[in-house]
């Protein structure tokens, strides 16, 4: 992946050919996601990648996107099923005809221009930890190439070539002070958490929420946005996705393993019960954890303790 991007960057710098760079980016995305059905790379002006996403694919899942990153400018790894109407209806039809079920969108902006990379995924796509890591790598490359840094304070030296996306502009002198820098992931999450805890107000009315049950969790109806400790208790922030989600739905085998792992059975025992090998169980449970958005096994056990015996509907709105 790295050589392709570097070559494309060089081409861009030498010849100011942004189309070459975009092609390199597409190639990089294809290598990172071999099963990708289609890759679309577009430039957009300004910082709002979500607007670009809207323009390209129709109203996107802004809630999920902003919930993950806490801001609309910057990079975002968004997984959405929201193929809706929009100016690019033809593109949507084409993708759906090709069997594309979901898409992954990454965008990065340097404040003035941005790149939006949309990767169409097949319907049978499974989000495994390895794939998640591959997406993260592509996103990192994208950001590095855009000169957008992860750590605000440390790296203003301009080591990464700053890529100007509008070839018509003259070779501008870089003003390092003007380089917009992204905070780290943790800082984004921290901000989002603050939003959730301080500025959010209790909702007094709204559409019906799907019941929080083990079943609906298995269907992928609940997306865990964040986990944090509040008053010493592990709190989950979840976003309901009524109707379930194709990417987060667990298949039969994953469901039975999730149930058993939630019942505090060991991998060895699960393997015995299902007649599989232990590494197979371990791998599948890794996928389950990624799909559910949980980070560790005790959380799964506790979630099951919470949900297994009863269905819970929203009754209380605390202050």
């Amino acid at each position: 992946m790295a050589p392709t991007l570097a070559i494309a960057e060089a081409a861009f710098h030498l010849e100011r050919r942004s189309d070459v760079w975009l092609a390199g980016l597409r190639e990089a995305a294809r290598q990172a996601v071999p099963c990708a059905r289609a890759v679309q790379a577009t430039q957009f002006p300004g910082r709002d990648g979500l607007a670009a996403l809207d323009a390209l694919f129709g109203p996107c899942d802004r809630a999920a996107a902003t919930a993950i990153t806490g801001s609309a400018d910057g990079w975002c790894m968004l997984v959405s099923e929201a193929f809706a109407e929009g100016p690019s209806a033809e593109l949507i039809d084409t993708w759906q005809a090709e069997g594309i079920g979901d898409y992954l969108a990454l965008f990065a902006s340097d404040g003035e221009h941005g790149i939006l990379l949309a990767i169409g995924l097949p319907k049978s796509f499974q989000l495994t930890p390895a794939r998640r890591a591959a997406f993260a790598r592509v996103a990192d490359e994208l950001r590095a190439a855009m000169g957008v840094r992860r750590r605000l304070r440390q790296d203003r030296s301009g080591k990464h070539p700053r890529v100007r996306l509008a070839p018509q502009e003259p070779a501008a002198t870089d003003t390092p002070a003007a380089a917009p820098c992204l905070d780290s992931d943790a800082e984004h999450r921290g901000r989002m958490r603050e939003h959730l805890l301080r500025r959010g107000r209790p909702a007094d009315r709204g559409p019906e929420t799907p019941t929080l049950s083990w079943e609906s969790l298995m269907e992928g109806a609940w997306m865990i946005l964040d986990q944090f400790d509040r008053d010493g208790k592990r709190t989950l922030a979840v976003l309901p996705r009524p109707g379930g989600s194709a990417l987060r739905r667990l298949d039969d085998r994953e469901r039975s393993m999730a149930r058993m792992a939630g019942d505090a059975l060991s991998n060895k025992r699960i393997a015995l019960e299902l007649g599989l090998s232990e590494p197979c169980v371990a791998r599948t449970l890794d996928t389950v954890m990624v799909k559910l958005g949980l980070r560790q096994r005790p959380d799964l056990v506790r979630l099951r303790c919470l949900l297994a015996e009863r269905d819970v509907s929203v009754t209380a709105t605390a202050s």
């Binding site: 929420t209 208790k233 592990r234 709190t235 019942d263 005790p298 959380d299 056990v301 303790c305």
Partner: protein
Amino acid sequence: MEIERITLEGMPPVFLFSLDSGSEQRLSELTPAEQEVARGILEGRSNQLIARRRGTSLRTVANQVAALFQRFDVSSRAELVRALEGLPPVME
């Protein structure tokens, strides 16, 4: 279970709830030292981490964990989490 519903501008409602389902009761039956260790296990922390936070040695924590296993008649950390949340182990 208490669920808090939060709305932010331009976003659909987000729900907050605590993962805790009933461990408080069982935790209160333990000594403060055991409570700390038990909470650590509930949060999925390793023995080493628990020892570091408590300022005791790894062996002490390992012993305390073993004692908790015996107390609740379980044989793994996951089972202990389930027992602490107040559910009987799954029999098959």
